[in-house]
C-alpha cells in the first residue's frame, strides 16, 4: 500500500493553499432539474462578479491526503445527481488542472520591465522544456489544462515558431483575464514530477503598486521569481550600443522595481526587515544576443557549456558571477549589496529567447534561443526537483 502524506496545494487562480486532505468536486451533469445550479459565492468572489449560477460542489475529506485521489472503480460522483465530477479548488471553486494535486506544485512568477521580453521568454522556455530539455533529462512537459494548451499551440507555436511573428504586447492583468491566467504544466524529469505554473505579467503592471497589490498576488505567493531585465533599456548599455541597433525608448529604474518587489514580498509573507527573503530569485538579463558587442566574446554566457541532461551548478555560478559584475557596472554597486541583503539565493543569467533582434515584427531566421532554460533549471535545482 502506498501511503501518501497530505501536502499543501497552491491554487493557481486564488493563490490560497490548502491541504490535499480536503478536495472539492463540481458536478458536470447536464440535468439541471435533478441538480439545480445555484449561486456560487466563492467563484463570484474570485471573479468580482455576482455569484454565478453553477453546478453544486461536493466537498470530500480523505485520509492520508488522498481526498483528490480517485479510487479504482469509484470515481467521485455528484452527491445529488450521481453525475461525474471535475476537481475544483475548495477555496475559490475554480476548475483545477487535471491531476493537479498529484504532484508538488512549483510556481514561477515572471516579472520585468515593459518590453523586456517576458512573454517571448515564457513561450520559448516552454517550447524548449517540451522539445529539447525534457527529452535530454529523460522527461517531458505536458500542459495540464486547455487554456495552457491553447496558448502554447495557438499563440506561441503557430505565431512565433511557425509564422516567425513577434507576439503582441501583453495587456494589464487588471484589464485582461488572459494575463491573469497561469500557464500550468507538468514537468516530469526522471522520477521527479513537478507542476510548473508560470505567471506572465504586463510591464505596466510592475509600474503600478496598485495593480501589483491587487492583481499581483501570484508574485508574492510564487515559489520562485524570474526577474527579466532588458539590458537595452539600461542607459549605460544604450550608451554603448547607440546607433548599432534600434533601441527601445522606455527605460526603467531597476532599483525601483526591485524595491517594490521586496516590499510586497515582505508584507505578503510577513518577512521582517533584516531577514532575507527565502524565495529564489533568478535575474535573467534578456536579449543577450544584442550584447555581443558589449560583452567580451569569451564571456561565459556565450561560451559556457550547456546543461544537457544534467544541471551544472558550477557553470551557472560562473555565468552568474560574470553577469553580476557586468550588471553592477551598468547600474551601480548597490545592486550587489541590495540583492545580498534582500534575498537568500539569487543568480544572474543571460538569456535570449529569440536569438536575434527582429526586423520590424518579423524574425529573419526563426527562433534560435540561447540559454533560455537556465533560470528554470536553476530554480528546479534550488527546489530539489531535478533528478540526481
Amino acid at each position: 500500500m502506498i501511503v501518501v502524506r497530505a501536502h499543501d496545494i497552491l491554487c493557481p487562480f486564488c493563490f490560497q493553499r490548502w491541504s490535499t486532505s480536503v478536495a472539492a468536486f463540481r458536478c458536470t451533469g447536464t440535468d439541471t432539474n435533478r441538480c439545480k445550479p445555484k449561486p456560487d459565492e466563492k467563484l463570484g468572489k474570485l471573479r468580482g462578479t455576482d455569484p454565478p449560477k453553477e453546478a453544486p460542489v461536493t466537498v470530500c475529506n480523505g485520509r492520508f491526503g488522498q481526498a483528490f485521489t480517485v479510487k479504482k472503480g469509484r470515481p467521485v460522483r455528484c452527491s445529488q445527481c450521481n453525475a461525474p465530477t471535475r476537481p475544483v479548488c475548495p477555496n475559490c471553486h475554480s476548475n483545477l488542472p487535471q491531476r493537479f494535486a498529484e504532484a508538488p506544485s512549483r510556481s514561477m512568477a515572471l516579472i520585468g520591465t515593459r518590453a523586456a521580453g517576458k512573454t517571448h521568454f515564457i513561450a520559448v522556455v516552454l517550447h524548449e522544456l517540451e522539445h529539447r530539455i525534457g527529452p535530454k533529462f529523460k522527461g517531458s512537459l505536458m500542459a495540464l489544462n486547455e487554456q495552457t494548451r491553447t496558448r502554447i499551440d495557438t499563440d506561441f507555436r503557430q505565431r512565433l515558431f511557425k509564422d516567425g511573428q513577434m507576439l503582441t504586447q501583453t495587456a494589464s492583468a487588471r484589464d485582461n483575464a488572459a494575463t491573469r491566467e497561469p500557464l500550468v504544466t507538468r514537468l516530469s524529469l526522471g522520477a521527479k514530477h513537478s507542476n510548473l505554473v508560470f505567471f506572465d505579467a504586463a510591464g505596466e503592471d510592475l509600474n503600478s503598486l496598485d495593480i501589483l497589490e491587487r492583481q499581483g498576488r501570484y508574485i508574492t505567493q510564487s515559489d520562485g521569481l524570474i526577474l527579466l531585465l532588458d539590458p537595452l533599456q539600461i542607459e549605460a548599455v544604450q550608451d554603448d550600443l547607440e546607433g548599432s541597433i534600434p533601441l527601445p525608448d522606455a527605460t526603467t529604474d531597476v532599483y525601483m522595481m526591485l524595491g517594490r518587489l521586496t516590499v510586497m514580498l515582505r508584507e505578503a509573507r510577513g518577512i521582517p526587515a533584516g531577514k532575507p527573503i527565502d524565495v529564489p530569485l533568478a535575474i535573467a538579463i534578456s536579449k543577450v544576443d544584442a550584447l555581443r558587442g558589449v560583452l567580451a566574446d569569451n564571456h561565459p554566457v556565450f561560451t559556457a557549456e550547456r546543461h544537457d541532461g544534467m544541471f551544472k551548478p558550477g557553470v551557472a555560478r560562473n555565468i552568474s558571477e560574470s553577469l553580476r559584475a557586468d550588471a553592477v557596472g551598468w547600474v551601480g554597486e548597490r545592486l550587489d549589496s541590495f540583492l545580498k541583503q534582500e534575498f537568500t539565493s539569487y543568480c544572474f543569467f543571460g538569456v535570449s529567447a529569440l536569438g536575434e533582434s527582429p526586423q520590424g515584427d518579423k524574425l529573419r531566421n526563426g527562433i534560435s534561443p540561447h540559454r533560455v532554460e537556465d533560470p528554470v533549471l536553476w530554480m528546479l535545482h534550488q527546489w530539489g526537483a531535478l533528478p540526481k
Binding site: 471573479r47 495587456a171 484589464d175 483575464a177 491566467e181 505596466e204 522606455a250 515584427d361
Partner: protein, 810 residues
C-alpha cells in the same frame, strides 16, 4: 445633461506617466479610482485568432468593434467602444506607427445614474454614434459631452434582420438573454459577420421591457467570451468561440436549431415580431416579472396572446394575473383567463394558483373583477377536488360577486354531480369560495340540491359549514323553505328537515313560515321539526295543530308526531287525546276508543289521580261521549258520595258493573265492585240507600256478589269496632228495617260470619234489652243462618282469593 469620457490605449504619454496601456486622457470629473475601475471593466481587446497578426489599415477595418455597456461600481452606467488599432505607439503626424501589435483604443462614456442614463438612448443605440473616436488625445483632459446622438440602428431593420435568421435563433437570443439577466451565465452569440453584432443586441434590447432593457449589459465583441462573467450578452466570432456543444447560453446565429422547449416569452416574441417595432414596443412596455417565466406570462397577457400559454406556464401566468389584478388591470386579466386554452390537467396542477387568483378578483372592487371572478371560477370548478383541504377559506372583504357564467359553471357541476359525496364536496367548496348568497335563484337551486341529499353524512357536514359561515344563514333559510314546501308530500324532505332543524335559522324560518302560510301542512312541518328536537313538546305541538285539522289525512299526520305509526304507548295516546280535548275538538273515534280502553288498562284509582290523568281528560268530553261504563268505573272512586248523590253514583256504578267484559275488564270489575261495596256500606244509613241499592238489582248475578262483598266490608267494620257485639246488634236492627229482605239475607250472613255462638247469644241479649221483637227476629235469623263449622270457615278463607267474577265468589 453631460457625459464624462475617457480614452484607454497603449500610448507613450497618458495619465499613468509611463508608456504602455493606460488612460490616455479623461474628463477631470473622473477620479483616479473611477478611471481604474473603468479600465478594469471595459478596457480590453483580444483580436480574433483568424485576423492577421500585423494587419494593414484596411485589414483592421475588418476587426470587430466592441461596444460594451455595463454598470461600473463607483462610476455608474458606462458605454464604451473599443477598436483594434494595431501598433502600440501610433503616430498622428503621417509617420508609420511604432511598437508591437496588440493595441486597441477604448473610448469610454459615463452615463447618468438616473433612469435615462444616456439621453434616453439604449447603450446599443450608440452603435456608430458620431461622438466615438479612436484618436489619442494630445491633451490629458477631455471635455464632457453635452449631447448624445444615436447611431443608425433602426428597430424595424433590426426586426427584419432577425426575422431572416435561421430557425431557433430568435428564441435562443431571447431565452439566453433573459436567463443571463436572471443570474445565469452570459449569453454568447456567435456570428461570422461582426457587423451584425449590434443587430442581435438591439433585438434583445427591444424585446425586453424598458426597465430590464436598461439593465442589460453587453458587448458586441469579445475575443475570449468564456472569460467574461460580468456581462449578460456577448457577441463573438467563430474564431474566438471555443464551442460549447449544446450549451443553452450559446447561440450561433448562422445555425438553425429546433429547441425542444421554447419558453413562453420567446414564443410570444416570435408571434408578434412580424407586427413591427411599434407593436413590439407596445407589448413589452408594460411587462413585469421577477424572472423570465413571469415576464413570459406577462408578455403573453399584454400582447393578448393567451393562446400561446402552454400548460406548464399556467401557474406563473396565474401569479402574473394576480399581480396584474392587484395593480388594477383586472379587466385584462379577465380577458386573458377567458382566452386561456390550457388543459384541465394543467388547471388541476395549478389549482391553488387558480384559487388565489379567484380570491384576489373577489377582493377587488374595480370594474372587471366580477368577470375575472367568474372566469376563474369556471376554470376552478372542474378541478376543485384537487384543492387541498387546508386551503384558506375565502375570508375577508369579498367585494366582487362572480359573474353568472362562473356561478353557472359551478351550479351545473353541482347539479350534474353523480353522487351525494361529490355534491356535498361541491357545496363545501362553494362555502370555501363564498359562492353562496349572491344570487337568489342560484341559492334556491343549491338549496334544492342540498335538500335532496340532506341526511347523508357528507351533506350534513356541508350544511354545517354553511351554518358556521357568517352571512350564509339565508341558505339555511332557503333550504328550510325548500324542504318545508316538499315536506307534505316527501318523506325525504321531512327526514331532511330534522338535521336541518339543528340550526336556529331553520327553526325560525319554519316557525315564521307556518305563521305566515297558516296551513296545516306548514304548521305540521314546523311542529314536526319541533317535536323532533324536543319530544316533550308533542302535546303542545298537537294542541297547536288540532284546530287546523280539516280531514283524516291531517289527523293521520298529527298522529305522526308520535312516530310513523302514531301513538304507541298509553301515554302517547293520552297526550294525543289530551291535545284534542284541550283544543276543544272531537277526538277521532278510534283514538277515543283506545283512550277508554286505556283507561281500563290500569287499576281503578283508589286515591285522587293527578290532574293530568287521562280520566280527567275524558271526563271533559261532551256528555253524550262521556256516558261510558269505562269512565263510570274509573270515576267510581273520584266521584264518590257525598260529591255526587248516592243514587246517581250507584246508577253509574251499576252501569259500569253491567258492562261487558271487553268494556270493563274483569280486574276493573272486581275493583269497581269492591269500591261499590265499600261505598254502599259507608252510606247504608243514607236515606237514598234503598234507592241506591236498588240500582244493582237489575244486575244479573252481580247483586248477590255485591251483597257478599258488602258483608265482608261490614265484617271488617265489626271487627274494628270498639264494641263489636253492640255494633252487630245495631247493624241487625238497621238491616231489619230495610225493605228488601233479600238484600238483608245476602249481606248479613257474611257480615256476621265470624260471630261465635256466644256472640250470637250476647247479641240476642242486647237486642232483648232494646226490643223483644228484634230479639226474636234475631233468634229466627240465627236459626236460618247457623254458625258454620271451622272447616267451612277455612274453606271460605281459601275460596276468597281465587278472584273469580260473578258467581265465582263465596
Amino acid at each position: 445633461m453631460s457625459f464624462a469620457q475617457a480614452y484607454h490605449t497603449s500610448c507613450r504619454e497618458g495619465l499613468a506617466g509611463f508608456s504602455g496601456f493606460q488612460m490616455n486622457a479623461a474628463t477631470p470629473a473622473l477620479t483616479r479610482e473611477q478611471l481604474s475601475s473603468l479600465s478594469a471593466a471595459h478596457a480590453r481587446y483580444d483580436p480574433p485568432r483568424d485576423m492577421p497578426y500585423e494587419p494593414t489599415k484596411e485589414e483592421m477595418r475588418r476587426f470587430p468593434v466592441a461596444l460594451r455597456a455595463s454598470v461600473v461600481d463607483g462610476v455608474g452606467p458606462v458605454v464604451s467602444r473599443t477598436e483594434y488599432v494595431g501598433r502600440e505607439y501610433r503616430r498622428f503626424d503621417g509617420q508609420p506607427d511604432e511598437g508591437r501589435y496588440g493595441n486597441y483604443f477604448c473610448h469610454l462614456l459615463v452615463g447618468d445614474d438616473g433612469a435615462s442614463a444616456f439621453d434616453g438612448l439604449l447603450g446599443i443605440e450608440l452603435w456608430d454614434a458620431p461622438h466615438w473616436t479612436t484618436d489619442e488625445s494630445s491633451q490629458r483632459t477631455l471635455p464632457e459631452l453635452d449631447h448624445l446622438t444615436p447611431g443608425p440602428l433602426n428597430v424595424d431593420a433590426v426586426l427584419d434582420e432577425v426575422a431572416r435568421a435561421p430557425a431557433g435563433v430568435m428564441e435562443g437570443l431571447i431565452t439566453g438573454a433573459q436567463a443571463a439577466l436572471d443570474g445565469g451565465p452570459p449569453l454568447i452569440i456567435v456570428d461570422v459577420d461582426p457587423n451584425r453584432a449590434p443587430v442581435w443586441i438591439a433585438f434583445v434590447n427591444y424585446c425586453l421591457p424598458p426597465d430590464l432593457s436598461a439593465q442589460l449589459t453587453f458587448s458586441t465583441f469579445e475575443g475570449r467570451p468564456r472569460d467574461i462573467f460580468d456581462l449578460n450578452v456577448i457577441v463573438t466570432t467563430p474564431a474566438c468561440d471555443p464551442g460549447a456543444g449544446g450549451s443553452p447560453s450559446r447561440v450561433d446565429v448562422t445555425q438553425a436549431t429546433t429547441p425542444s422547449d421554447v419558453p413562453l416569452y420567446a414564443r410570444v416574441i416570435r408571434a408578434i415580431v412580424t407586427d413591427g417595432g411599434d407593436a413590439l414596443s407596445r407589448a413589452v412596455r408594460p411587462v413585469t416579472g421577477r424572472d423570465r417565466h413571469e415576464r413570459g406570462a406577462s408578455l403573453a397577457i399584454y400582447a393578448e396572446r393567451a393562446d400561446l400559454i402552454a400548460d406548464d406556464d399556467v401557474p406563473v401566468t396565474l401569479r402574473c394575473l394576480r399581480d396584474m389584478g392587484a395593480r388594477g388591470d383586472i379587466e385584462r386579466a379577465a380577458e386573458t383567463v377567458a382566452k386561456l386554452a390550457t388543459s384541465e390537467a394543467a388547471d388541476r396542477a395549478a389549482v391553488c394558483d387558480w384559487f388565489e387568483l379567484h380570491l384576489s378578483a373577489r377582493r377587488s372592487a374595480v370594474d372587471g373583477a366580477r368577470d375575472l371572478a367568474g372566469a376563474t371560477l369556471a376554470r376552478l370548478v372542474p378541478v376543485l377536488d384537487a384543492l387541498p383541504a387546508d386551503a384558506r377559506a375565502a375570508s375577508g372583504d369579498l367585494r366582487a360577486v362572480p359573474s353568472v357564467s362562473g356561478l353557472g359553471a359551478w351550479l351545473r357541476a353541482l347539479e350534474g354531480a353523480a353522487d351525494p359525496p361529490m355534491r356535498a364536496r361541491l357545496v363545501r367548496d362553494a362555502t370555501r369560495l363564498s359562492l353562496l348568497s349572491h344570487n337568489v335563484p342560484v341559492d334556491q337551486r343549491v338549496a334544492a340540491v342540498i335538500a335532496d341529499d340532506l341526511g347523508t353524512a357528507e351533506m350534513d357536514a356541508a350544511v354545517d359549514d354553511i351554518a358556521g359561515t357568517a352571512g350564509l344563514s339565508h341558505i339555511i333559510t332557503t333550504l328550510a323553505v325548500t324542504l318545508a314546501e316538499q315536506a307534505p308530500t316527501s318523506p325525504r324532505a321531512r327526514a331532511g328537515l330534522v338535521p336541518l332543524a339543528r340550526y336556529p335559522a331553520a327553526q325560525r324560518t319554519l316557525q315564521d313560515r307556518a305563521a305566515e302560510v297558516g296551513t296545516f301542512d306548514a304548521h305540521m312541518t314546523w311542529q314536526r321539526v319541533r317535536v323532533a328536537l324536543d319530544p316533550a313538546c308533542r302535546r303542545d305541538a298537537a294542541r297547536a295543530l288540532i284546530p287546523l285539522i280539516a280531514d283524516d289525512g291531517a289527523r293521520a299526520q298529527l298522529r305522526e308526531l308520535w312516530g310513523p305509526e302514531g301513538p304507541r304507548t298509553q301515554n302517547d295516546l293520552f297526550e294525543l287525546v289530551n291535545a284534542y280535548v284541550e283544543a276543544g275538538r272531537p277526538i277521532p273515534e278510534a283514538d277515543k276508543e283506545r283512550a277508554f280502553q286505556g283507561l281500563m288498562s290500569d287499576p281503578l284509582p283508589t286515591k285522587m289521580p293527578p290532574r293530568d290523568h287521562i280520566g280527567w281528560t275524558l271526563a271533559k268530553l261532551p256528555l253524550e261521549e262521556r256516558r261510558r261504563p269505562e269512565l263510570y268505573a274509573w270515576a267510581a272512586y273520584t266521584t264518590r258520595p257525598p260529591d255526587r248523590p248516592l243514587a246517581d253514583w250507584c246508577d253509574r256504578a251499576a252501569k259500569a258493573l253491567a258492562a261487558d267484559e271487553r268494556t270493563v275488564p274483569n280486574d276493573r270489575w272486581v275493583e269497581l265492585i269492591t269500591i261499590v261495596a265499600k261505598t254502599l256500606v259507608e252510606h247504608r244509613r243514607d236515606f237514598e240507600f234503598p234507592v241506591a241499592i236498588s240500582k244493582f238489582e237489575s244486575l244479573p248475578d252481580s247483586d248477590e256478589e255485591l251483597c257478599v262483598r258488602m258483608g265482608h266490608v261490614m265484617q271488617e267494620a265489626l271487627r274494628r269496632a270498639k264494641d263489636p257485639l253492640m255494633s252487630a246488634a245495631q247493624e241487625f236492627e238497621h238491616w231489619q228495617r230495610q225493605p228488601r229482605l233479600r238484600l238483608t239475607e245476602l249481606v248479613l250472613p257474611t257480615a256476621f260470619e265470624r260471630l261465635s255462638q256466644r256472640d250470637v247469644e250476647d247479641i240476642w241479649e242486647i237486642l232483648q234489652t232494646r226490643s223483644a221483637t228484634r230479639a226474636d227476629e234475631w233468634e229466627r235469623w240465627t236459626r236460618r243462618h247457623p254458625r258454620r263449622s271451622t272447616r267451612d270457615k277455612v274453606g271460605r278463607v281459601f275460596g276468597r282469593g281465587t278472584g273469580r267474577k260473578k258467581g265465582g265468589g263465596v
